[in-house]
Symmetry: C2
Subunit: 102 residues, 2 copies
DNA sequence: CCGTCATATGCCTGTCAAGGAATACAAGCC
DNA sequence: GGCTTGTATTCCTTGACAGGCATATGACGG
């Protein structure tokens, strides 16, 4: 959980991993196939994701099955909160404007 | 708009700039004072933010006044959408569980 | 135990971004 | 037109990854 969530998400490959894990949990090998990248590279990204809390893994026989944990993403969502209020306010204003125009 | 939004947000200083601009638009000098960083460093971050669409600037006399544009943040918000549905689903499930327990 | 499959780790190299110092540019003022 | 103020740009150095290859670790089957 040491590294900043945004820094973790800054890497496109890691977002691809998350996008894939969103659909179903996967073994490292599955991800290697899906991403077309070397196994060490994938394992390293998984390590970063794991240490930042984005994924958890369980051992199943000789494989490690990775699975999303949404908690860090919720933190990002909360960071967005105040900004979301900004554009919500603008949309409201636009709406009022359009209403007054009709 | 060339650089990836997440890469832009990965830099803590840039998030600090956005957090400050969220409260009020500011000149470069204001930001330099607020961040305690060299003026060139701030200007460079502003350039990155500008090129990625996070801020716009207008010229006022000899100053440049920077202001937030929330569009790229809305894009981030949309990227979060599917994940948000994940944890929303979990919360719903938890709620149903608690309801069934009462 | 030993070989094998699945994954993790170390080492190396190349790339890229951040920050400081110096400098260039641009707009106002006298 | 020089001078000052505010901001952008350039050059340089340094540090942080990302990715590949080789190798270590770990779990299973015979």
């Amino acid at each position: 959980m040491s590294v900043d969530a945004f820094a973790v998400l800054a890497e496109p490959t890691r977002r691809r991993i998350l996008d894939r894990l969103r659909r179903s949990e996967s073994s490292v090998g599955d991800l290697v196939d899906a991403l077309g990248m070397s196994q060490p590279a994938v394992s390293k990204h998984l390590k970063v994701l794991r240490e930042a809390g984005f994924v958890t893994c369980r051992t199943a026989a000789q494989q490690r099955i990775y699975r999303i944990d949404t908690r860090p993403l919720r933190a990002v969502d909360e960071w967005l909160g105040p900004y979301r209020r900004m554009w919500a306010a603008h949309l409201d204003a636009l709406e009022r404007h359009l209403d007054s125009q009709e």
